[in-house]
Symmetry: C2
Subunit: 141 residues, 2 copies
């Protein structure tokens, strides 16, 4: 048991006190949300240290809204929350992958994923995913 603990301690390293997380000059790091079981890439948004710590503490994904300059608790107004399954950091510490359980739809357009536009060689865009919920329904109180 003791050797297991030593092994675990060696395999893990503390990051909140270190430089493992590399924030950009605005104190933010991009975070990709992926549905944990289906593998769907749902969206990409930004987190600051407070958003990361709140997400880990509550198990509900919280981003930093660059437009509103405030914490953005995903689903707070739409009900389309993300439950955290696991938070991953990449090899150079400058991107986060959130494995989540997405309630309903991730995109404000009412689509499951924000990545619904396919780009052709000439730059034209074609819609790939259907609207599952009307945005009006999504944001009405």
């Amino acid at each position: 048991m003791a050797s297991d603990m030593t092994s675990n301690a060696e395999a893990a390293k503390s990051e909140f006190d270190s430089v493992a997380i590399k924030f950009n000059h605005d104190g933010l790091i991009p975070a990709i949300a992926q549905q944990h079981d289906s593998g769907e890439v749902l969206m990409m948004a930004w987190m600051n240290l407070t958003a990361i710590q709140e997400t880990l503490a509550t198990g509900r994904v919280c981003y930093w809204s660059r437009s509103r300059q405030s914490l953005w608790r995903k689903g707070e107004s739409s009900g389309q929350q993300q439950k955290l399954v696991e938070m991953r950091l990449d090899c150079d510490g400058d991107t986060i992958l959130l494995l989540v359980e997405q309630t309903g739809v991730a995109c404000h357009t009412g689509r499951r994923s924000c990545f619904y536009l396919a780009m052709a060689q000439d730059g034209t865009l074609t819609e790939r995913l259907p609207v599952l919920v009307s945005p009006e329904t999504l944001y009405k109180k």
Copy 2:
């Protein structure tokens, strides 16, 4: 047929001449690479307009290296190329999702994906993915 073409034209819109792609103040946009069939999120890197156009034209993923300040044709030195299956743009035009066929491993550490560190609530990191190829093998000529 005419109505189909009209419908397609309405569903699609040109972006290279428009503001559909929102680059940041450095002229870059984050690009997430995902293995098209398994759903694995492999890495996140950055593209400029030239990298986007080269990727669409050649079918091989090309990024912009912020550290080297040059085009980065993925796999050029390691052989671990990414063949483009489809390029997606998100709802607000500021993130790209690349559906790819990844040759070998995406990560310079020799792991399939760069997102191999799981973050616990206290900030400790634990490795989740095995090294499949030694980095020495990966980059030797």
